[in-house]
């Protein structure tokens, strides 16, 4: 476009530019300030519950949100936080879209709308992006689900080195390293209890954040524990995969006794039928812990391919009658889904927050952090190795996994003994 703008045209053009910018700024500011004004002044304690509601992790994210909502409803209908005059818990919901920049923005948004604590956010990458917000704004952040060790460890280190005054980020979920240790321990114990000695384990995993983290933790724990069984082959695949036939052929060539898969729902739907099709002669499929091997949707699609599959997962304590009731409720409200790791830990997260508030007797962030340090709570629905406490890194050392197995088309806890609801079946019966 050939223009020769004279001085007056330049004036108008720059005016246009300037006003576009200013208008955008003003409109933006107005639109963003608005919700805060609209929100009525009701004395509730606001928790920002931020999870991936859309995007590739939408399925677990939506489960987390529902679990949190159900827990908040339960607390409120039981009278709210008694030490704060029956103050109710109000959830401000956020959607991270599974993106770190959106996660950060959502954290800021819910805090702007009055959130006094944060909870979230399932995937470690996005959770990590929310950590600086918690530290900058002094908002205690309870990580309900996210396994990457650095999320809390980095903050603890910064506090130790004096770069940050207080740690505001705490986690009630097994860390990546604890996943691995427990898995190796359970593998060995189960083999011993079943009185068999498989030697060759082939580890197959989805090459995404969770899969890699878990696989590395598993291998490291194995190297440290030196059990009688070996990991003879490690096969990662790009997630989500379109085809796993070559990967399974490769596993078969390693003559495995056990296949140890770390999957996501989509890859599990490919992997398990492939294992059957290629007629792998194995004692069993025992996973170090991953989604995809127990959900109601997976069971409906994979049916008998999932039978006898074991997986070492954070799991709900179904021996607790409260858990049963909540699980039934959850099934109704979610349209048939299982009360599992995701919904469960988010549920417990809100219960835990309620306990922390009861003891803090205040909504001041530092008082809340004080109360967090003193936590010794046994009111959760998930399977723990002891009461919930927080160590010097901000993690709960008693958050552990449980070995579950699909028996009769249902996932049940089978190991350790104190958690077991049924006896495990291992080796799996010959087809």
């Amino acid at each position: 476009m050939s223009d020769r703008p004279g001085p007056s045209r330049m004036h108008r053009r720059t005016f246009l530019q300037a006003s576009a910018k200013a208008a955008g700024a003003a409109a933006g500011a107005a639109a963003l300030g608005f919700p805060a004004v609209l929100r009525a002044q009701v004395p509730t304690f606001k928790v920002g519950a931020v999870h991936p509601i859309t995007g590739p992790l939408a399925e677990p994210g939506q489960a987390c949100r529902l679990g949190a909502q159900m827990a908040a409803d339960a607390i409120n209908s039981a009278g709210g936080i008694k030490s704060l005059n029956g103050m109710k818990i109000d959830l401000i919901l956020g959607d991270t879209q599974t993106k770190p920049d959106v996660g950060r923005t959502e954290a800021e948004r819910v805090i702007n709308q009055g959130a006094q604590m944060l909870m979230g956010s399932f995937d470690s990458g996005t959770t990590q992006a929310m950590v600086p917000v918690a530290q900058q704004r002094r908002v205690p952040f309870l990580v309900d689900i996210a396994a990457a060790d650095p999320i809390t460890a980095n903050v603890a280190k910064a506090v130790k080195e004096g770069q940050q005054k207080t740690q505001y980020v705490y986690r009630n979920f097994p860390t990546g390293s604890s996943f691995g240790k427990k898995a190796v321990q359970y593998f060995t114990e189960v083999f011993q209890e079943a009185k068999v000695s498989p030697k060759r384990v082939v580890l197959m995993y989805c090459n995404d954040l969770f899969g890699q983290n878990n696989a590395k933790g598993f291998q490291a724990a194995h190297a440290a524990a030196k059990p009688s069984w070996d990991i003879v082959e490690v096969i990662p695949w790009p997630e989500p995969p379109q085809d796993l036939s070559t990967e399974v052929s490769r596993a078969k060539a390693a003559r495995p006794d056990i296949i140890a898969p770390i999957t996501r729902p989509a890859s599990a739907q490919l992997l398990l039928p492939e294992i059957r099709k290629q007629r792998l002669d194995i004692m069993g499929i025992v996973g170090p812990g991953s989604p995809g091997l127990y959900e109601a949707g997976q069971l409906a699609t994979l049916k008998e391919d999932l039978e006898y599959v074991m997986s070492s997962l954070p799991w709900a304590n179904f021996k607790n009658p409260r858990t049963q009731k909540v699980a039934e409720d959850y099934q109704k409200r979610s349209g048939g889904k299982t009360f599992d790791t995701n919904s469960g830990y988010s549920y417990d997260g809100i219960l835990l927050i309620a306990d922390i508030l009861e003891r803090a007797k205040s909504t001041d962030p530092d008082a809340i952090v004080e109360a967090i340090h003193k936590t010794n709570w046994s009111g959760g629905l998930m399977q723990y190795a002891g009461p919930v406490t927080f160590n010097e890194l901000g993690d709960n050392p008693n958050a552990v996994t449980t070995m579950i197995q699909i028996l009769g088309g249902k996932p049940v806890a089978v190991w350790p003994r104190e958690a077991a609801v049924q006896k495990f079946v291992f080796p799996r019966p010959k087809a």
């Binding site: 390293s177 090459n207 695949w237 052929s249 060539a253 729902p265």
Partner: protein
Amino acid sequence: MAPGGRGPEVRVPASQGVSRLDAALIAQSLLSGLLFGGVYSLMAVGLTLIFGVMRVVNFAHGDMMVWGMYLAWLLATRAGIDPYVGFVGCAAALFGLGYLIQRALVDRVVEAPHEMQILLMLGVALVLENSALVAFGPDPQRVRSPLRAATVWLGPVFVDVARLVTFVLAMLLTLALYLFLTRTDLGRTMRAAADNLYGARVIGADVGRVYAVAFGIGAACVGAAGALVSPILPFQPAGGLGLSVASFNIVIIGGMGSLPGAFLGGLLVSVAESLGAVFLSPSMKELVSFSLLIVILLFRPAGLFGRAAT
């Protein structure tokens, strides 16, 4: 110590690797790769047709395919129609969608700068992906078909029957399309419009209609592809992008606008990835197809079977 880090250092023992001399494994991966190539080919055929005729890059390709898969799933679960029969319905539905998209949207930007076409199809992709999310939820699904479990063993290697059927159907579909383009009037007009738009107009071809039909047929192929692979591939709304990228790879390597190119390109890419999964780490197998893509782009951008002039 400076801040940051990746958490505790983890010493990862190296994988013991696969004996390269394991002939059965290599033979199996070649066979699996070849059969799965049928799936890839099916995906690519629709894309290459649209580009070949209209020079429009359909960035919503993967998401259309996902819709084809969901439609097949609906037919299978609500009406009990097996996808190997129902794919015709999916093709028809997507033909309609493609025709509509072309007439209403793409037609308006055929003359516009490239970026606008890309943006338009990206917008369409977003709408398709997220309406699928709203309609069907985020869980991955798979269509159950009686062929799922069928395998035929030839000694130490096996043939996955479902994939074999898809392979055969991909071949037949490509053949049918080829015949359409070469033997029918409409097909010939399409090719004329592709080769020489001005000339086609001069001889009175209704280019608008030709384009719309071309887009419709391309979309129909994608719909059929989606239906036919729905028993094989788990699908979820977020999966469209990955399918689009994979399809672009195949089409470029095979040759944009070339039907045999799309078919053979699909086989080639699948076999290459399969061998990559055997000799490298399987998580790097996509590296193989991207490297192949870069090489083709540099040294033979028309693709292995495409026409030399762009």
